[in-house]
């Protein structure tokens, strides 16, 4: 049997023009839920632009934008229950803000400060993971603990398309299948891993089909469609919680931005491809849908942007007002109780600070 002998459909609700192709999922009935989804995307977009500006002016370190991928996090975050756990990667602002992570915390982290991962409103979600795909492994352990304790909870872990080439991704989906763990692997297939296009990453036609290697479910969804993402991840989470049936959700998107602020995608990527992708992006179609089906007005839209702007500004203020760490704070969190060795080195450090400021 050849690797091309089967086809996986892509679940779609909203088409690029904002038309609904299938009945709205019950859970999204009512204007508020839909506006919530839209708001998350707009907030993420606005936050993203602000973060990039902060980076450009030297007020933030390297930052990985979410542009074009807001629908994934919007849908995932809404689909998750409070008691679920998120194990994110670095392009998950839209999910994280629905989980209680504060915008200023995200800024603090990319501003080069560990305190940004000490979420004040979220005890269990993991910090974003930089070493690619390693977080998938952690998700399986969290899921194991939930199952061990007979809890009706599940884990969502996320990664990029490039991450699916790594051993850790595979070992994680395999153990999740073998042990029937309540975990959903959401892959943001934005078609690029820095400069490497998906075609060089794998010969698999879809990421979803990687599920078959380990006997779990593989689902493809239009990642520019927040409704579809919500629906697919909701179902996946139900299967995970109720039946301990893990799955991969491949969300098709496109990285409209550079990889990070340290990257220049024009070095390796066609403008035409980018332009085409831009037409499919998630905010435009969602707005069009709200306008045509839910009486969303330009005034409301503008007000929303203004509101998000001011929320982001407040976050930036809070970020900038964050007091400095205590000197030598980095000694304090290596162990529950500092070792004698670290106490000694800390003294050394303070002696130096005293001598030279």
């Amino acid at each position: 049997m050849q690797g091309t002998d089967f086809n996986i459909e892509t679940v779609e609700f909203l088409d690029p023009s904002g038309k609904l192709k299938r009945p709205l999922p019950d859970a999204l009935g009512g204007r508020d839920k839909l506006i919530h989804l839209y708001r998350i995307m707009v907030l993420t977009r606005v936050f993203d632009r602000a973060a990039i500006n902060l980076q450009r002016t030297g007020a933030l370190g390297t930052y990985p934008s979410n542009e074009g991928q807001e629908a994934i996090g919007a849908g995932v975050g809404l689909a998750m229950q409070d008691t679920d756990v998120l194990v994110p990667y670095y392009r998950d602002v839209a999910t994280q803000i629905q989980r209680g992570t504060l915008l200023e915390e995200i800024l603090v982290y990319w501003g080069g400060d560990e305190r940004g991962m000490c979420f004040s409103n979220q005890a269990e979600d993991f910090p974003v993971s930089v070493p690619i795909a390693t977080q998938c492994c952690h998700a399986t352990g969290i899921a194991y603990a939930m199952k061990y304790r007979r809890q009706n909870r599940a884990v969502v872990t996320t990664c990029g398309d490039g991450a699916t080439s790594k051993g850790d991704f595979y070992e994680s989906i395999n153990i999740a299948g073998a042990m029937k763990l309540p975990v959903v692997f959401v892959v943001n297939n934005n078609r690029w891993a820095i400069s490497v296009p998906l075609e060089k990453q794998t010969a698999a036609k879809t990421i979803a089909q990687k599920a078959f290697a380990v006997g779990i479910d593989g689902i493809r969804v239009d990642g520019n469609d927040a409704i579809a993402v919500y629906q697919v991840v909701s179902e996946a989470l139900e299967h995970a919680r109720g039946q301990h049936r893990p799955s991969i959700v491949e969300a098709l998107s496109y990285r409209l931005c550079d990889h990070t602020t340290a990257d220049d995608a024009s070095r390796y990527r066609d403008q035409k491809e980018l332009d085409q992708a831009r037409e499919l992006e998630p905010l435009i179609r969602f707005k069009a849908y709200l306008q045509s089906e839910h009486q969303w007005s330009e005034t409301e839209d503008e007000a929303l942007y203004v509101d998000c702007d001011s929320q982001v500004k407040k976050a930036i203020d809070a970020y900038k007002a964050t007091p400095d760490q205590q000197p030598g704070e980095f000694f304090n969190y290596m162990f529950a109780k500092p070792t004698a060795n670290l106490e000694k080195q800390k003294k050394e450090y303070f002696a130096e600070v005293k001598r030279h400021g």
């Binding site: 492994c137 969290i142 603990a145 939930m146 153990i175 969190y333 290596m334 162990f335 004698a340």
Partner: protein
């Protein structure tokens, strides 16, 4: 009091803590029905169930990575890696995550877990079954590295490792797994994870070692006493954080130090001990610090492994040289 080998002591520590704390979970390849390839978990699955003594797929990276997730949820996972030569696929998870999770989240998420691996040569095992690369883990901030050398210390240190709120790499000297029994009280008492153990008092020279090499080091000390050299023997036990005070104190009395380890010499754990002697300890030194160690080669396959391992003769020669140094 029970009479146990080191291996039995390991199993008994497991049994105690599995019984005492339902958050403790053991996982690894073949740890379940088979009881581990060395039988360190023999019978535990039968007693505590397959959810607590868990056979995993063959995948070291996710085994450790999974344990990290478990630990974050308040379980206390104990991972068995079958041999130290197979720890490397998990090094990324150990260094980049287990050792850092507390710091990365400023204490919000922690990682109380034990990563066990049998280590060292001398049991006539196949390729990749004889490594001693404790130095790799000792160098990594955020990890404890613990190596017992007797049944009692195996029991007490393993209990301490399981209860410790941070990740511990626990390396078991498989060469002495079944070598001799010792009376150990099965009372659930832990030993400290920040102290060397002085196994023999002496005034002429300080011998510092750990793991299986303690055997040869004690033997050498015995023989040396017959020729009038009274050696102090220190079992480092917790390699990291290193209890350098006990060593400095001993050398301040003896003036001479010979370090014995099986791992390759260069950039090994012995180097750190010698470096501290060259630093703070320098005024104590009456002779060059000696290192009796494995060579800077791959451990030969089993037929020739004895050529590699630091034996009693090499220790005695080094001590003699040290004693003769004026």
């Amino acid at each position: 009091m029970a009479e146990w080998t080191l291996l039995e002591a390991v199993k008994q520590a497991f049994a105690w803590e599995l019984g005492a704390d339902e958050n403790v979970v053991v996982l690894g390849e073949d740890v379940g029905v088979n009881g581990g390839v060395f039988r360190a978990t023999d019978g535990l699955q039968e007693t505590f169930g397959a959810e607590r003594v868990v056979d995993t797929p063959l995948a070291e990276s996710v085994i450790v990575g999974m344990a990290i997730g478990m630990a974050a949820q308040g379980l206390k996972p104990i991972v068995e890696l079958q041999f130290m030569g197979f720890i490397y696929p998990a090094v990324d998870q150990i260094i980049n995550h287990a050792a850092r999770l507390r710091n990365r989240t400023r204490g919000r998420i922690t990682c109380p877990m034990v990563i066990r691996a049998p280590f060292g040569g001398g049991i006539h095992a196949p390729e990749h079954h004889s490594e001693s690369t404790e130095a790799l883990f000792a160098h990594m901030p955020g990890l404890r590295v613990v190596i017992p050398s007797s049944p009692a210390r195996a029991y007490g240190l393993l209990l301490a490792a399981i209860r410790d709120p941070d990740p511990v790499v626990f390396l078991e000297p498989k060469r002495v797994y079944r070598l001799g029994k010792q009376e150990v009280e099965d009372n659930g008492a832990a030993l400290p994870l920040d102290s060397c153990f002085v196994l023999r008092d002496g005034i002429d020279v300080t011998l510092v070692s750990w793991g299986a090499s303690i055997k040869e080091t004690l033997e050498a000390a015995g023989k040396l006493s017959q020729i009038g050299v009274d050696a102090e023997v220190i079992d480092v036990a917790t390699i990291s954080p290193l209890d350098i005070e006990t060593i400095l104190d001993s050398v301040s009395r003896t003036g001479r130090c010979v370090i014995v380890h099986e791992a390759a010499r260069s950039f090994g754990v012995g180097a750190e001990i010698a470096a501290q002697l060259a630093g703070e300890g320098i005024t104590s030194l009456l002779a060059p610090v000696k290192r009796v160690t494995g060579f800077d080669t791959v451990m030969p396959l089993y037929r020739y492994e004895d050529q590699y391992m630091p034996g009693v003769n090499r220790i005695i020669d080094a001590v003699k040289e040290s004693m003769e140094y004026r």
